[in-house]
Subunit: 242 residues, 2 copies
DNA sequence: GATGGCCTGATTGTCGGACAATCATACGAT
DNA sequence: ATCGTATGATTGTCCGACAATCAGGCCATC
């Protein structure tokens, strides 16, 4: 057993084409919004069949590196949108049987710092969108579906106000995963709507006044409230999501 | 302008097939490891051509929902692996011109809590893997490439020790993004190796002793050190990564 | 000048059929 | 029991084809 050989791997053509185009995009040779040559032309350049090119394109398309502007045929290079990426992450976590508790624990660690940084970095525009999100929730919270959506939207606005893409993107999957349980919670505990609205109001106020400590403090309470709600609504914390 | 029509959207066949299979997987009708029928059979069932099925499969494959065990032809259902998902996230962030500062700021907020929770939840096995990661770094840090890899691996071990998948996955993209700058840093600042090794040692010790405060404290210092290193190495913090 | 109709070429979505290479399996020879 | 071999199934890739849609130019009408 002195001689050992590396595993020989044969990469199919559609994969080679996909990585070739991906590299061009990552190296910024192909920039956002630029139009990709038509399939027949790509097939000619790569020296493969159009079917092979198409399989490669589907790969890039689902990765968000290519998109088609609505009502157009040509593919254009695009940067993966945060929401789309977050969807993939939350889907993966759901398939890995992530529990309510894990999501809540992550929110506990992530949201207070986000509130703090948002308070420092928010612009007037950010504040306006946070304010609008508060009002939307307060007005539309009678419908469960709308309420859940606007509760998450509030977090998104605060996240954007940090002006830190990494933090904003990190919280997105958590909001996706929070949604289903939040739906149950809001349905079972009527007073939850008022509590959430109150917390949003206080956080908004603190961010408006640039009161870092208050913003963090109210956010801590806000997140803690979710857990209390779970217990009141009789949702098992170690139950998997989805 | 009283009448308005919704945008009419026509979904191509390969997309319909893809979502159909995706739904089966998400609803757990198709479980992990289960083998997908061959392409011809899928084409028959869906009533479309094999080419159409293949395009759909590429989509699911790149999303990590399907994979082919090496040396096998049939597709099997798989749950997206954390590392693969993290790669997509870090790629997206890189394309969105995320800066060193944003990554560092996120690490500042995320890693101390992770250290804290890991200290509480770690098992003997976790501790052993953290210990091994420390030693690997200490021994292999002469080669820049290995050093960078093992520095990230240390964080991964701590992340796993939290036994919280959400937190562990959240930090993965940050480590990916940290790598290139860490490579420059370690190359330019020779003494960085020793500082990192020292911090790892102290954090490991604290986690071993279940000293939550110490673990958090040393992690804070560890992360802060990265920033100092950037400044010493003359890396602009607001420079984009990639 | 703006609007709408019409034509033409380019492009995509989908189809059918084809074939070599590889995998899975069973069978038989040593 | 181990090793060849034959056979069928499956994938990767190719070719050619056609309808539907898109982009753009040209022209008539108002």
């Amino acid at each position: 057993m002195s001689v050992e050989f590396d595993q020989i791997l044969l990469v199919p053509g559609y994969r080679k084409v996909a990585t070739a185009i991906t590299e061009r995009i990552l190296s910024r040779e192909l920039r956002e919004g630029e139009r990709l040559p038509p399939e027949t032309e790509l097939a000619r350049q790569f020296g493969v069949n159009r079917s092979t090119v198409r399989e490669a394109l589907r790969e890039l398309q689902s990765g968000g590196l290519l998109e088609r502007r609505p009502g157009s045929k040509l593919m254009t290079v695009s940067r993966p949108q945060h929401r789309a990426i977050a969807k993939d992450v939350s889907r993966a976590l759901a398939l890995h049987d992530v529990t309510f508790f894990e999501v809540w624990e992550a929110l506990t660690q992530l949201e207070p710092p986000i509130a703090e940084i948002a308070t420092r970095n928010r612009t007037a525009v950010d504040l306006a969108s946070i304010s609008a999100a508060c009002e939307q929730f307060a007005q539309r919270s009678t419908e469960t579906e709308k309420a859940v959506h606007h509760a998450a939207e509030f977090f998104r606005c605060v996240g954007r106000a940090t002006h830190n893409q990494v933090l904003a993107l990190a919280q997105e999957p958590l909001l996706d995963l929070l949604e289903p349980s939040l739906r149950v919670l809001i349905d079972r505990i009527p007073q939850a709507r008022a509590r959430i609205a109150g917390a949003q109001h206080r956080i908004h106020e603190a961010i408006a006044k640039r009161d870092v400590e208050a913003a963090r403090g109210w956010m801590v309470k806000h997140i803690r409230d979710f857990r209390k709600g779970y217990e009141l609504a009789d949702i098992a914390l170690d139950c998997r999501i989805g």
